[in-house]
Amino acid sequence: MNAPQARDFGSLSSKEVRGCPIPFFKNLLSEAPVYRDPGTGHYIVTRYADVIQICNQPRLFLNQADIMIGRAKSPVAAEVQKRFRERGFPELHTLSTADHPNHPRFRGMVDKVFTPTFVKGVEPKIRKIADDLIDAFVDRGSVDVANEFANLLPMFVIVDKLGLPRDDWKKIRRWSDVIMERNDPVLSGERELELTEEVIEMQNYLHENLERFRREPQDCLLSAIANVEDEQGRLTDAEAVSISFQIMVGGNETSATAILSAVYEVLQRPDMKAKLLADPLLIPSFVEEVLRMHSPVPVLFRLAAEDTEVAGVPIARGSTIVLSWMGANLDPGKWGNPDEFDIARKGLRSHLTFGRGAHFCLGHLLAKAELRTALERLLTRLPNMRLSADYPAPQYVSHAFVHLLDSLHLEFDRPSAS
């Protein structure tokens, strides 16, 4: 039996809330920490302690929440599944939407890839990619940060690691945007079918490459995924495609988003910019605080496996729970002055942007390395970096699933002729 809804604080399915969910989540933190969204029927959880409690009970709060993968309640579910069966690959729960016992199997296969040692080893390459990208516009005195830098840096890092050609980046970015758009609980059936066609194209692209590496193994991640064997044998085509796309999408979209937020934050704080230039050792802390305040993925989903309760609110079996990482990152019950941008705050790294527990973001070390390097190279090489007056101020887009700036156009002083 669901608790009666007390007040209507709005819905995460509304364009208005999606355009700026922060006031919405802050309201819920104080007024309705477990809030049944009238637009979706989902229970939105915002308090840090409650979100942690849910993350730490993966048998009760399942990752197979049917929003990102599966979507069994969608009005076009049967047609979508038919198309995947006939022209693509059935969508499986492998990494982010998997539970015990499948999750440990698949996660274990990829855990040993994005290690601290790997990330340290790839840092020089990240720096080179950043510098090469900057070389292309440094003499112009202006830059479209999203399209000339942020969307390309993590993209090139992940496609190189996967073993895909950098020239394919445009379609990989398009498919990443498609996946992000599809993570919308209230997507229209018509749009879901359109997005399904793109996902099938992506699946077949990945499958062709996996097959290529099965024929001729190489030292890259797609080859490892194509050829890995454990006691259950090799991965099936559907499993390999599923794991591959999550790494491909997760490895480019979210880091690009975070780079934009990081640059925008530093531009709004001239004193911070000066401090970071004077002491680049402060950059890691700056990056953590950006991640706390601007989670690229503000929410993720869980499914209640049994009748249960969170913070005294009854939640029926089968209910969808929305974990608000963004809300938890602003919870005054956890953070002192949560609205203040403070790189010296206590517990800086305990934000929930990367989740918590078994599903903690696989690529968090790589993401942070990319963020640190991006910021350091831009600050160092673009003197007097500032927002361009020729464009409107950046705004966060109205989106179901990502917290992303619509643009970021900068000007900077051109290098003087030597």
């Binding site: 994005f114 601290p116 517990g347 790294r349 903690f360 968090h364």
Partner: protein, 105 residues
């Protein structure tokens, strides 16, 4: 079972136990201690289970992997007897070990 003397950040000592099916991090978490965040769930991927192992036992542990070493190196509070608790298996032979939780990063 392994007997552990756990020293919190404020210096309080507490006797806890760890089953041999657990990592030291899991034993600490199961004792109710919340100072060890274990953000990554024990995957040697963060450094929020950073502890100091008392000298008499430190040398008996299997050496740290390069990954563990990398993460400890990134800590501002690394000491000679630093380890990540998620990388240490509870072992009755290490009974009586004193484990101090490192300062928060």
């Amino acid at each position: 079972m392994m007997d552990i003397v756990l020293i919190s950040r404020d210096g309080t000592e507490q006797s806890i136990q760890g089953g041999t099916d657990l990592s030291l991090m899991e034993a600490i978490r199961e004792s109710g201690n919340e100072e060890v965040l274990a953000l990554c769930g024990g995957n040697c991927s963060c450094s929020t289970c950073h502890v100091y192992i008392d000298g008499a036992f430190f040398d008996r542990l299997p050496p740290a992997s390069p990954d563990e070493d990398e993460l400890l190196d990134a800590s501002a509070h690394r000491r000679p007897h630093s380890r990540l608790a998620c990388q240490i298996r509870c072992d009755a032979a290490l009974g009586g070990v004193r484990v101090e939780i490192a300062a928060e990063e």
